[in-house]
Amino acid sequence: MSEVAIETRGLGKRYRRLWALRDFSVSLPANKVVALVGANGAGKSTLMSMAAGILPASQGEIHVDGRVVLLSQDKPLYRTFSVAEMLAFGRHLNRTWDQQRALTWLSRFDIPLDRPCGKLSGGQQTQVAMAVALGARPAVLLLDEPLANLDPVARREVTGELLAEVADSGMTVVLSTHVVAELAGVGDHLLLLSHGRSRLDGDVEELLAQHARLTGPRAAAPPVEGEILQAQHTERQSAFVIRTLLGADTPLAEPWKAQPLTLEDLVLAYLKPHRSLGEEL
């Protein structure tokens, strides 16, 4: 199996005059959970749709290694189909189908097979859509903001099960979201989109190790070199989120302190618009 699950070169998608994605080149690793993050309209769904092959690119190219299945944002199901018929749908329309895998997923969440999908709760519909997606045995599973209508407990349970599936099957999961809290403990690789372009791309651990929040006496600039992502000031204190080689391990002169960032902090630092630079606390 290739080490790269999805590779794009100069990829672009234009809707009339508006570029949803432009000059986009990335390599996403295989057998990982890739967190695809960005504000609404950043181009996440467009990238997912192009990777799934249901949306043609306006320019550039995209290559996906192996079978790809997209579970889109609104998790569409045929409302009059029973859950069992939705599995039959998956079986009939896919060359490869793992009925047992789909049934196992449904039984984990106690989904009744004979109930019409239209009469299931939003969370149960999510599980049916997930079962259909997993039953197709994709090499790459694209999940486009799929957990939005799950409560926090169910969300954690689903992501936990997904991680187990990734570990068991060697599948790559690309999890798109703008709810940063969904990502805690889930993503191995982070791809952050902003205005149709890649803003940050890399292994989550490595990225976290390269970023830090520095706090110290009020100053116009941090005491070390690095890319300043955020700067906030009070009368007596300044705080900077910066990208440096050593991150939170950067040696600093007293009284400056370096703190590691959480994944949520990291993403928010990049998602916040540039006007926050120099913003007064």
């Binding site: 949803a20 569409p76 060359r95």
Partner: protein, 325 residues
């Protein structure tokens, strides 16, 4: 393909079952009515019963036949509404297309497969209905003497119900693909159907240049009124107003002759016509031997509409944006 057959059946099974039941009922009724008309026509041939033969289309059995033929003629618009429109419009409305198109079946293969299944079903039902309606039209013609080249009899014959059904299935699919809304697509189909109905009434007699002929009078047995000679299967293009012609070749509107000159109760019509030099009517018509050509032309138009509608549907599906960034 088996998967798409299953999916099409599962999604559209109620329209399919309902259509099959309606087809069976209509075919049974048409065959029974045709049989009754055949018996009535045969009875009229016997000398003893000839006096009782009214041979009028307002009688119960010919009326039923007329209703049945009209039903068949209007079925294609129902095919468009209940089969064609939901194929894409309902999926667009319920946002299920990303699900369907993200399986191992491409969107064009999906469209081709589902459309093919529907075409086979509509084609099968249409063939049976068209065969029964042709048979009924002939029996109706045999009893009433109404031209097979006119109105409903023409539209019920020549396999037009079949090609019209296929064409309007495609129109329904295309309307659903273009509008992406079931109700809007139905309104579009309804409007197009009205345009087609009105347009064909105007266009059909103009497929070929009509023949103009002076048809001399023969008198009815009691000699009380003129009976214009008409060949049994001509298509009249006079729009019901056949001008009279006199010995000098001048034409006179029927209102002037029948209601004006010869309209009084005490006037003998035959004598009146002779007094005014009326020798017959000036008929414009499409002769009966053109009926096959006319059916061929109209079937060709249906086929053209079928192809055009499928191209529109294919283009819309190809260009359909199923997500936004």
């Amino acid at each position: 393909m088996r998967g798409l057959i299953w999916l099409t059946w599962r999604q559209h099974r109620w329209p399919i079952v309902a259509s099959a039941v309606i087809t069976a009922a209509l075919v049974a009724l048409m065959l029974i009515t045709a049989s009754d008309l055949g018996s009535m026509a045969a009875k009229c041939l016997t000398t003893a019963a000839r006096g009782d033969c009214r041979r009028e289309k307002t009688e119960a059995v010919p009326s039923h036949a007329s209703y049945l033929m009209n039903s068949v003629v209007f079925l294609p618009v129902l095919v468009a509404v209940f089969w064609g429109v939901p194929l894409l419009a309902r999926e667009f409305e319920q946002r299920t297309l990303p699900l369907a198109w993200s399986q191992d079946v491409s969107r064009l293969k999906w469209l081709t497969g589902k459309t093919a299944v529907m075409l086979v079903l509509v084609g099968t039902m249409g063939t049976v209905l068209a065969a029964a309606s042709i048979h009924l039209a002939h029996q109706y013609h045999a009893y009433t003497g109404e031209s097979l080249f006119e109105g409903t009899q023409f539209q019920a014959g020549g396999w037009l119900p079949l090609t019209l059904g296929l064409a309007w299935l495609a129109v329904g699919i295309a309307a659903g693909a273009a509008t992406r809304r079931v109700l809007v697509a139905i309104a579009t189909v309804g409007s197009l159907w009205i345009v087609r109905m009105v347009g064909m009434v105007w266009l059909r007699p103009r497929f070929m240049t009509p023949v103009t002929l002076i048809k001399p009078f023969s008198l009815t047995e009691d000699g009380s009124r003129p009976a214009a000679f008409t060949a049994a299967d001509d298509m009249s293009v006079n729009s019901g107003s056949v001008p009279f012609i006199d010995v000098h070749g001048a034409t006179h509107p029927p209102g002037l002759v029948v209601d004006g000159w010869c309209g009084s109760a005490d006037v003998d019509v035959n004598t009146c016509l002779h007094q005014h030099g009326i020798i017959g009517t000036l008929d414009k018509f499409q002769p009966a031997d053109r009926m096959g050509t006319f059916h061929l032309i109209e079937n060709g138009m249906n086929l053209g509409l079928f192809v055009l509608a499928l191209v529109v549907a294919w283009w819309c599906v190809k260009k359909a944006r199923t997500t936004v960034g």
